[in-house]
Amino acid sequence: MTILPANTVFLVLLIPAGAAAVLAVLPGYRLSARLNVLASLLTLLSALLLFLGKPQPGAYLLVDDLNIVFIVLNTFVGFTTSVFSASYIAHELETGRLTPGHLRFYHAMYQAMMFGMNLALVANNIGLMWVAVELATLTTVLMVGIYRTPEAIEAAWKYFILGSVGIALALFGTILVYMAAQPVVGEGLDGMVWTVLIDHVAAFDPALLNLAFIFLLLGYGTKVGLAPLHAWLPDAHAEGPTPISAVLSGLLLNVALYAVLRFKMLLAAHPTAIAPGPLMAVMGLTSLLFAGLMLYRRRDIKRLFAYSSIEHMGIITFAFGMGGPLANFAGLLHMTMHSLTKSAIFFAVGHIAQVKGTQKIADIRGLTESHPVLGWGLVTGVVAIAGLPPLGVFMSEFLVVSSTFAREPLLAVPLVLGLLVAFGALLLRVQGLAFGEPTGSSAPIQASTVPMLGHLGLVLAAGVYLPPPLTAWFQHVAGLLG
């Protein structure tokens, strides 16, 4: 086994790492914002190159049909968010919320976070994957606290404490997996290489593996934002810069979920270990119902959509927990749609909060009149995320519900209930935000709405027509997930 595959996969890691180093020393925010966009674009292109030829799995890195979906989604949303971020932070600088020094730090951290997330996605070594998730967590903690307001510091502190506890539990789970593997595959590096583990998992000690999965699910589940371990998520979303809310919701939650999925595949390949599905399904449903109810009492617009992210991560976890080709397909599709839609919503929310100077829902009214593009963009995003046709989220939610009805009709009742509760709350809120007498400033925004419109366009296109190659790819991956 070669230590490292010399291939395009390096580019996906080296570009963000190099860019982070350059941005850390580069003064002048205009240049660094552009460089940030450029680096994100190059990372996206090199991620697309992975489709051309997948490198052989090495002891540390792995590219297979499963994680390529995650990598492309990750780098794509990373790129569009960097475009959004460029116009967002210019405004923050004008209003004096951030200084040029902060921005240098911010851009370097942005690329460091992209590096961490990409590394977590391509890691073949479960220890390396853990390190990468921790790196991504630490960089986002720093960015959540960047405004230095009391609220931001509290949010960052809470995120840091809960995230670290989660990550510590995940490391303990990782050590337990190694302990289970060690008698079978021998001591040393092989005991942590995922491709080796999956080949030999049938001979592992089931009791150890079960315990390991509990720790891993709780640990990485904290990062996914599953109830009751979600407490950090709304604060971190509300108090950090909006581009970070967009990447947190759209990407970091997916990365953590990806880690859970890898270990779920391990357990599923073992004949006598506990079935990981029901655990995930229960946590997913709990998150969905809990977040659905919590949506009603939100006064802060970013918190509202943070709870909506918990809700959707619940749905996705539930779908993967149900398992089977159809539910997995629905889960993958829903994950993609949620990432695109939620980041588009946060792009809109970021511009809205800047132009209105507030995040309080009660103080924002009549957006469709004062800012037609933003207002209707937000309405479209919310309609999409609430699961109305013809947008993409409707299709994936419909698939989740119908596959649940076909297999476990009783479980479909709380699922549909949760979806309806969340649907009601979102439409109620967006009505107040978008219509009525406009309040606050009606000054036109000086920012590009292209990232938001691009995402919404993709979601709409996916809802209307999903290209057959994409469907085939998702079906193939869903089959792999078991």
């Binding site: 853990w130 009391p150 509290e154 502190w157 670290s164 510590a168 942590m192 000690d205």
Partner: protein, 220 residues
């Protein structure tokens, strides 16, 4: 000889659990920092012993890092921060010391029951080590939830990480992770000390996390 190596490993890992209990009942910050230094010292001894019996030289590095950073540098640095910032020397607890200790005993019993049952076929040494490590981890968690001061929560988190290092050292031949996890725990400690405490100090007169609760965004 085999009996002796086992007994010493057992003694050191058990000692770590004991020091974790000592962390739980400290009510003065300086005392807490001193006990944490002992915690790290016991950890480094334990890891060094594992390095000796497993004949794994890289674990000596881990032991040395634990000794230098966790037992010396971080406690000294925290001492200075506490002194310079004029943080309250008393530790405010959410729950009384008595109930906390009882819960701690319960958690240790739980981890023994769970780990020893689950790892019935594993190497006895690794098995004991893992059970102790889980106890230390859970006690660290307990400390984090029952304390209000940011500094004592950081100590709780670092004692939790000590448990993880113990587990990783006990797992025979575990690659990479020992070094990486130690490097990360140092990074974490630096970030916490450097960024958060100073930022908190910039805005508040206290490093008591409870005081931060007043600023919750949702509360009107």
């Amino acid at each position: 000889m085999n009996g002796l190596t086992f007994d010493v490993a057992h003694l050191l890992a058990g000692g770590l659990v004991l020091v974790s209990f000592m962390l739980l009942y400290q009510d003065r910050l300086y005392a807490l920092l001193n006990v944490f230094a002992i915690h790290a010292l016991v950890l480094s001894l334990s890891v060094a012993w594992q390095a000796f019996i497993q004949d794994a030289p890289h674990l000596y590095v881990t032991a040395l890092i634990a000794l230098l950073f966790k037992a010396i540098v971080i406690p000294v640095a925290l001492h200075r921060i506490v002194a310079r910032l004029g943080i309250h020397r008393e530790i405010e607890t959410v729950v009384g010391i008595g109930p906390t200790m009882l819960v701690g005993i319960g958690l240790v019993a739980l981890s023994m029951v769970v780990m020893l049952r689950v790892t019935a076929d594993a190497d006895p040494l690794a098995r004991q080590d893992l059970a102790f490590a889980l106890s230390v981890l859970l006690l660290g968690l307990l400390m984090m939830v029952t304390r209000r001061n940011a500094v004592s929560q950081v100590i709780g988190f670092m004692s939790l990480e000590d448990g993880l290092v113990l587990a990783a050292a006990g797992a025979k031949g575990m690659p990479l992770v020992v070094e990486i996890s130690v490097a990360f725990s140092i990074l974490v400690a630096f970030i916490v000390i450097g960024v958060f405490l100073f930022r908190i100090r910039e805005r508040f007169d206290t490093v008591d996390v409870h005081a931060l609760d007043r600023f919750r965004g949702e509360r009107l």
